[in-house]
Symmetry: C2
């Protein structure tokens, strides 16, 4: 029972919660995942990310991101692909992802 392949629940845009999104994005590892996903411009498998944590910890982070609505997850074979829900996040919180994924602009000296 409980096939691993079943698609996990994803929140609807109308249910996105700023508090939850911020709690997801405050963690450096998770923010790095979002940034890498944004830079890649394509869906990525969990294992392909450059993060320095164990597999179980990675699973945890992806779950937090998914439940906050930041990513969508789906299986392809044994791999779990992750898609950034850019448009939906922008609809719910305009400018937020832009502000967080934009590389730091050096301040004039």
């Amino acid at each position: 029972m409980g096939r691993m392949g079943r698609t996990p629940p994803h929140p609807d845009v109308s249910q996105f919660d700023l508090q939850q999104v911020l709690e997801a994005l405050v963690d450096p590892v998770r923010r790095s995942i979002v940034t890498q996903l944004d830079a890649a411009g394509e869906d990525l498998a969990c294992g392909t990310f450059d993060i320095a944590v164990s597999k179980s910890t990675a699973t945890h982070h992806f779950k937090v991101l998914r439940e906050a609505g930041l990513i969508r997850q789906y299986y392809v074979g044994t791999s779990r692909l992750n898609a950034l829900r850019r448009a939906e996040m922008d609809e719910a919180f305009p400018g937020l992802l832009d502000a967080l994924t934009r590389p730091r602009v050096p301040v004039a000296p």
Copy 2:
């Protein structure tokens, strides 16, 4: 020694750190402080904020906000006034405060 009136250290814009700013803003109480400050459009004393925590806890929150660069604090008599460092934050992280202080836009049904 250590007069209370001495101005506490404030970070320079060039030292603003995204991680630190996010850690400051992820707390609902602190985000509420920033929002109230933004809405007021003027500097406010610590005691005038609508927050449901003790005085010592409030002091802690203001300190976290100040060290992250979100507010500037200065004394006037026995009151400590708080100013939102809007322009500087916008320079360091364009769009961030906008995204966080903007009231949630209802999603089309």
